[in-house]
Symmetry: C2
Subunit: 433 residues, 2 copies
């Protein structure tokens, strides 16, 4: 049974705080192993990557065989059904349309002092996208990572995807092709992250690395951060559903289970003002768990990490939701928009009963790479800006320098930075002299 | 003498690559010490912070004495001259005006399928700003970190600034007051970062931490990343000046020295099409180094890390500049805007001879917290978006779900995520039933 809390309980605050503080993932201490792998790839390049791939993925490759050739890609893609291809293409088109609206604008203006100011956005030149192998090798994630990069204008986009024992998911290759990925390598783990960050003879280095991965990949991303940019370190998936009376308990149960089935560390929480609905959802989850294909994973997630919370009113629901700062937030109440406005801290919000979170995983348009583990308090889902950077621009005229230069000189002197002050003073003297 | 390269040299590429790969900072291995400090603060809270402050800053505090009181702040601020105050206020006003233009816009639209889509930007609730003590305790950095946070709408803004031996910089406190900082604590080092990230009885935790610091602070920020958001890990300062013939060598020399004087690990580089100017700048630097207050630091930086590169034309200058991806880029050529357009990878660009970089450090308006160590390839200077996050929003109507739901279901099945598919199917069945 999941945690069941009622806000009227005497120990509610303590139990809710315990739920928030719950550690769902064991922090595997792989940092030393990963440090060794990165050092090895920096020193020995391709040779190290090939040895590590043989060891971890049971796959013997040559340097030339690391990349999928066009012919190999075509052969794999030919296995995809027309229906799957059409679904992927619809998803890609909608994700592209959404993210194209995120393209930022440059700015340029002249202020009262006569200073010309502004900024300029430009894409990173090359980005690497890590795609996990095996069970979590999701073609939808390829689209969600690659399309924002291409919309940003990244000219070289590289995918690394381990193929343990040589097994490939054709849909991953198709998604990469649809999204416009330029190179795909059959390598994974910390060695793939190291190759992307530092480059090898075969793989040119990139400037930014995104995408989910296991503990080794996460530790490697943390280590190369600074050398390259990285996206967030992803934790297990989460959903919070806020519902009032009059919702279908089975719909809510399925929405909760669609996170729970990802991973037994995933977390699904229902907050409701209706105690009857709470009970009905618990029963509906149990019923669905009888037959669900991934019932072992989903059941463990629900039992160990799930929670049902009955609150007095929606204001209380909003307050708790902000503390949870959920990755996914479904709002199934009469005025969903009003409640959403009271919950600033959430990765993605799904409004109304006709918006199951799974729509957002695939075809809604918004990104499904979202901040987990309460990081929606300070970070955003993956977006076009993650693949761009802003350069600030300034041009002083002599008049502008006359107007504001003396203050710069004054502050430089107060900070004991004489050359700073002199660089302004030399120009002011020319103007005054 | 700094490195002197001419693009016609036979070994130019090798020597330029060596310059790029040069390690200017010794990587102090403080990670284990920092891990211990963070664990200690998490366990013992205020007690640990107070003991560590006594040990590292030679300052005995009580928990109640960690924060500056209003009276203490007023007493310190009273020491500031009217001129310094006026300069700080002008700087604050210009920085605020620039950053107010960076406020992002929300979006909301209905697409052809009838799906209501959009996003919403909201500020982080609480941010912590680390201000170094001692020599590098710059009031301008307080403004540059705090003002974007306040423009973003951060409601609680906390400064930590160590005061070794109890010594305070009144200008830092004044800058904090002008910028609207809410709390100032006289603590520093990894213990301050840990207190900001995890909270103590006295200091409530924040959601985002920004600001420069020494190796301990940098290692602590890297460790708490994920628990809270952080800005970049700052490295030593850099400037690249690109100049053609007809510039004043002394102006360029002063601009180069204004980075070199920060730190002996700082790097100042001149690229010019004019060999005569190159020689004249080298001579002008030597002349200024005779009398500069910080000549030991600036001289060591120039000698060990400086470089002068003579190129055949501006296209070559642009290509090299993109590889350097400088933190600060001054362009002093006839058509500075045209050359800037060819250099996407730079933190901040200063156009024309009347725009010394020092203007940008204080009063220009753009931020002076900028990406170092080639990270302008993938990251931006500090800006308002660093203190905000974007929540994506989606609402499906029954019609929209009918249009795109089947593709979501199909993709869910292809990824073996049955509950995802069922959550869509249950709703489609209701519509079709």
């Amino acid at each position: 049974m999941p945690v069941f809390l009622t806000s009227e309980d005497a120990d509610f605050e303590a139990r809710f705080a315990a739920l928030l503080g719950m550690k769902r993932e064991e922090a595997e201490d792989v940092d030393q192993v990963v440090a060794g792998i990165i050092a090895d790839v920096r020193t020995r390049g391709d040779t190290a990557v090939l040895e590590l791939t043989a060891r971890f993925d049971r796959l013997e490759l040559t340097a030339a065989g690391m990349a999928f050739s066009d012919a190999e890609i075509a052969a794999e893609i030919a296995k995809v059904s027309a229906e799957d291809r059409a679904a992927l293409e619809l998803a890609a088109e909608r994700i592209r349309a959404y993210h194209e609206r995120q393209r930022p604008e440059d700015a340029s203006w002249t202020d009262a002092a006569g200073a010309q100011l502004g900024w300029r956005w430009t894409p990173v030149s090359a980005a690497g996208l890590y795609v996990p192998g095996g069970l979590a090798s999701y073609p939808s994630s390829v689209l969600m990572n690659a399309i924002p990069a291409k919309v940003a204008g990244v000219s070289r986009l590289v995918v690394t995807c381990p193929t343990p024992g040589g097994v490939v998911n054709p849909l991953v290759l198709l998604a990469a092709q649809i999204a416009g990925v330029d190179e795909v390598y059959r390598i994974g783990g910390a060695q793939a992250i190291a190759a992307l960050a530092y480059g090898t003879a075969t793989i040119a280095p990139v400037d930014k690395i995104t995408g989910p991965g296991n503990a080794f990949v996460a530790a490697a991303k943390r280590r190369v951060f600074g050398r390259v940019g990285i996206d967030m370190i992803a934790g297990p998936s989460e959903i919070l559903v806020i519902a009032d009376a009059g919702n279908d308990p089975d719909w809510i149960a399925l929405d909760l289970l669609s996170q729970a089935e990802h991973d037994q560390s995933a977390q699904a929480i229902l907050i409701t003002t209706d105690a009857g609905l709470a009970q009905a959802v618990v029963a509906a989850v149990e019923a669905r768990l009888q037959t669900l294909e991934r019932r072992e994973i989903a059941g463990a997630s629900w039992r160990d990490n799930g929670a049902v919370i009955v609150v007095a009113d929606l204001a209380q629901a909003a307050a708790l939701a902000n503390r949870i700062a959920p990755e996914h937030l479904e709002i199934m109440v009469e005025d969903a928009e009003a409640l959403a406005a009271a919950i600033p801290h959430a990765g993605a919000i799904f409004l109304g009963p006709w918006t199951p979170e799974a729509i957002g995983d695939y075809v809604g348009g918004p990104n499904h790479v979202l901040p987990t583990a309460r990081s929606a308090r300070f970070s955003s889902g993956l977006n076009v800006l993650d693949f761009m950077k802003r350069t600030t621009m300034a041009r002083m005229t002599p008049e502008a320098l006359k107007a504001i230069g003396p203050s710069a000189e004054r502050l430089a002197i107060s900070e004991s930075l004489e050359a700073h002050g002199l660089s302004v003073r030399a120009r002011l003297d020319r103007l005054n002299g």
